[in-house]
Every structure is written in structure tokens, then in C-alpha cells.
Amino acid sequence: MSSTPLLQVDAIDASIGVINILHGVSLSVSSGELVTVIGANGAGKTTLLRVISNLLKPSVGLVQFDGAPTTAVEAHRLARRGLIHVPQGRQIVPTLSVLDNLIIGAERSEIVDSETLVENLEREYSRFPVLRERKDLAAGSLSGGEQQMLAVSRALMMRPKLLMLDEPSLGLAPQIVKTILNALRQLADEGLAVLLVEQVAMAALSVADNAHVLRNGEIALSGTASELRRDKALVESYLG
């Protein structure tokens, strides 16, 4: 594992309006590592990802990505540099076709020549074959699971260095959750840095290397995923 982490979050405070949501949150993710942040409804998981991708400025603290502070970098530029955030609710563009959704991802990451584009598309189609079958359909007509696969594939078309996912399991059948989490594990094994935000603790812990439990905007518990898996009762007491 590389010496300096790809993503380093240092003692972040963040507020929405006058309400302080995150308090002194620190974590790091290295290339090849899958880190999960688990927390109950309203714990501040989405807020944390929004701070990392600079949709929300932290009031205190520093986020560093790829060796540089993100403070002055606009969200769309961070995305082009490979900090990819798949937001809660997937946010695929329902009026565009599946293929167009994938192309949007490729377009902003300098995948311009058609050969590379086709290569990347093929790679995603073999990852999630259902996307190939549905490529000309409006993305809005896909099922929830297919939409989540599309969201992951679209993100991967953007050449991520760090892939952040906000509750990809939300509303999906366990079998599909498994497919998606396994895909994430494999991506990490191939060298990608993955930050997975989840409410379904045990599923996330089963694929993660390291884990943090977020409660009321604070990190209440950290450890390796296997440590936290062994202490299921403790983890669940924080999620309750």
C-alpha cells in the first residue's frame, strides 16, 4: 500500500445553515483499499461525502485528495481529476438512454477517441451484462438495481482514482446488493480506492478493509472490518 493515502480527511466540521452536522471527522483511503463508513439515518454520511467532493465547504478542517488540498477546487474539477462521487439515489439521468448516461461519464474524463470509448464500454458491459441489453432504453425505465449498476458503471467510465458511493444498497434486493458490493471489492483489489457509505452494516463490513461508524456527526468507532464484524453487537448499538 502506498505511503500517503489518496484521500485524507482531517478533523472536519461542517454545518448546514446554523446546524453543525459533522464534528471532527477524520479518515483516509488509500489506493487498493475499500473503506466503509456506516451510520444510521441522519448520522451525517451524505454530508461527509458532500464535503469530500466539495459540494459543501467544511467550516473547519482539511480535505486532501491526491496530495493537494481540495479547498479551492470546484466539484466538477475534482470529478475530472478522478474523485468520483455516486450520490445517494443514484441520480442517473432518466431521460437519456443507458448508453448516453455512460457516455456522459466518459466525456469529462478525456476519453475522447472512439477506440478507448468502445473499450471502456465493453469493460462495463461485461461487468454488468444487463446494461448491454438495455443500452438503448431510457435509463429511467431500468429497475432500481439496474440503475445502481448503471451508476457504478457511469462512475467507472470517468476513470476514477477514488470511488465514493452513497448507500448503493438502498432499496435493492439482497442478491443485487451482493453483486454490486462484490464488484466494488474487485475494483479495490484491482487498485482503486473505494469509500463506501452504508446503513446495512454487515453487508458493507463483509467486503471492506477498514471501517468507521458514524453517529451524530462523529466517528464513534473505527477499526478493521474484521474487528468490527466480530463485535456485531457493539456496531449495532451505535446504529440503533
Partner: protein, 298 residues
């Protein structure tokens, strides 16, 4: 008699083409920002006056058109930068404010007053674009048609085709639909939302400018024609439910043709009937012709 009907039909198609172009401008801005430019018709008016003055000054039509489009592009950019964006952080609807109604209508009034200062209150005739005289006719299938009208229809068709190409086949078009869906998700996809929105307003303004150039030789122009065009373009966009480009195309053409015939039968109140018809239509289909093909998913 048939000749007369065909001539009316062509006149209607020509005006319908203008309404379609103007409405496309409203549509695209609404798609991307959920806002409307109530000065869209006044942008058209400015385009018509500028083009008239430049052509009368002896500047070749193509160059004059280019200059008008540059001016209108700047106007669209200025509108976004000074009138739309300051209302919220990104130039994207926060959903809670309707101040853009006041600010864009304010811009419309300012443009009308400037036009009065420059060109006076009276009506003007714009020189023809394509032929020697405004009334030049060409015989097609034994029927005399105005050259200007025929060419306006042809030219507008090219512009509409180009518009479709931009929206459905280019990187920018995909960006517009992504921003329309969710600006924040668009940013996370690496889309420069602010620049996309600026381009939307520039394009909307160019569409008004093109409409103004084309309509000049077909009507008499004065500083207050803008509101009428805004209202008619709104009616046409409403037929398309503000979300369906094809509905807007059909709506614009139908509106122009209906208006031409209703003016033929009632020269005093002819303009009124198509608008009344649209009002009644909206009572029965409030979301437009193709409501099931809604593009606006919010």
C-alpha cells in the same frame, strides 16, 4: 380560391416558424434552469431592429446577420450573468424564488425604452433579406408565393434541425439534460454547470436573434412588438408542455397557420382566436401535447 388558401398557408407556416424558434429559446432555458425569459420577444425585437438598421446602412445581409447574432449572444450572456445568476448561487432554480419574473420582465422594459430612444415609437419596414423587394413573388406549381416567406420557412427548418442536433447528439446537449435533471449530480459528473447554463442562455438569445432577423421583412416592427411574441411563444411552448421539443415544433406551426387563417377571416381580432384556443387546450391538457413524454422529471 385554392391559391389564396395556399398563400395563407405559406404565410402561416412562415410566422409559425418564427414562433417555433422563439419558443425553442424559452424551452431550452426553462429546461436547464426552470426559469423563463419574459424578455424573449424583446430580444427578438432588438434583433429585428438591429438587422434592419445594419442592412439599411448598406452592410451585406450575411455580415449584418453575423453582427446581430454577436450582439444577441452578448445580450444572452449578460442576461444570465447579471439578471439570472445573481438570484441564486449557481444560476439554477432554488425552487423557492420567482424573482426572475420581475428581473427578466424588467430587462424587457429597459430594452423597449432603449429601442424607443434609438428607433422612435413609429413602425418600420425592414428591407428584404433574400430578394430584391419585400413583395417579390416566385411561382411554385402555378401559385405565386412570397420569396421571403418561402426562404424564412426553409431557413427556420435548418435552424430547428441544428437545434435538435445540438440537444440530442452533442456533448453539450447531454450536459443540458443532466443539468436539467439535477445540477448537483451534473457537477459530480464533471459537468461545468455554470458554463452549460450560460451557453443555454446564449443559445436562447441567438434563437430570438435569428427570429428577429427573419421576421423583420414579414411584419412591421416597432419597439413594442416583443410582448406579443413572448406571449405567443409562451403559448407555443405550453402546447409542447415546455418539455417536448417535437410538441413545440408542431405547436408553433399549427399556431402560425391558425393565426394566418383567423386573420384572413377576421382582420380585427384574428390574433385573438389562436390564443383563446391554446387557453382552452391547456384546460384539457395542462401538460401539453405529449404529456406522457415528459422530459422534466422534477
Amino acid at each position: 380560391m385554392l391559391d389564396t388558401y395556399l398563400q395563407i398557408l405559406v404565410s402561416g407556416l412562415a410566422m409559425g416558424a418564427i414562433y417555433t424558434l422563439t419558443a425553442k429559446g424559452l424551452f431550452i432555458a426553462h429546461l436547464a434552469t426552470h426559469k423563463l425569459n419574459f424578455g424573449q420577444g424583446d430580444f427578438l425585437m432588438v434583433g429585428a431592429f438591429l438587422s434592419m438598421s445594419l442592412i439599411i446602412a448598406g452592410i451585406p445581409v450575411l455580415l449584418a446577420a453575423l453582427l446581430v447574432l454577436i450582439a444577441l449572444g452578448l445580450l444572452g450572456w449578460g442576461l444570465e450573468r447579471l439578471v439570472i445568476r445573481p438570484l441564486d448561487r449557481f444560476g439554477i432554480s432554488g425552487g423557492s424564488t420567482y424573482s426572475w419574473i420581475l428581473t427578466t420582465a424588467g430587462v424587457a422594459l429597459i430594452l423597449q425604452n432603449i429601442a424607443e430612444l434609438v428607433w422612435g415609437k413609429s413602425s418600420h419596414y425592414s428591407p428584404p433579406l433574400f430578394s430584391e423587394g419585400r413583395d417579390n413573388v416566385i411561382e411554385i406549381a402555378g401559385i405565386n408565393m412570397f420569396v421571403e416567406e418561402i426562404l424564412v420557412i426553409g431557413f427556420a427548418a435548418v435552424v430547428v434541425a441544428f437545434f435538435y442536433y445540438m440537444l440530442f447528439r452533442t456533448r453539450w446537449g447531454r450536459a443540458v439534460y443532466t443539468v436539467a435533471f439535477n445540477p448537483e449530480a451534473a457537477m459530480l459528473l464533471g459537468i461545468n454547470v455554470r458554463r452549460t447554463v450560460v451557453l443555454v442562455f446564449v443559445l436562447a438569445s441567438l434563437l430570438a436573434g435569428i427570429s428577429g432577423i427573419l421576421v423583420g421583412p414579414l411584419i412591421t416592427i416597432h419597439p413594442h412588438i416583443g410582448l406579443m411574441f413572448t406571449i405567443k411563444a409562451l403559448a407555443v411552448a405550453a402546447i409542447g408542455g415546455f418539455s417536448n421539443p417535437l410538441g413545440i415544433l408542431i405547436g408553433g406551426v399549427l399556431f402560425g397557420v391558425a393565426e394566418a387563417f383567423s386573420n384572413y377571416y377576421d382582420s380585427a381580432f384574428g390574433d385573438l382566436y389562436p390564443l383563446i384556443f391554446v387557453l382552452v387546450f391547456l384546460v384539457f391538457r395542462p401538460s401539453g401535447l405529449f404529456s406522457e413524454a415528459q422530459a422534466d422529471v422534477r
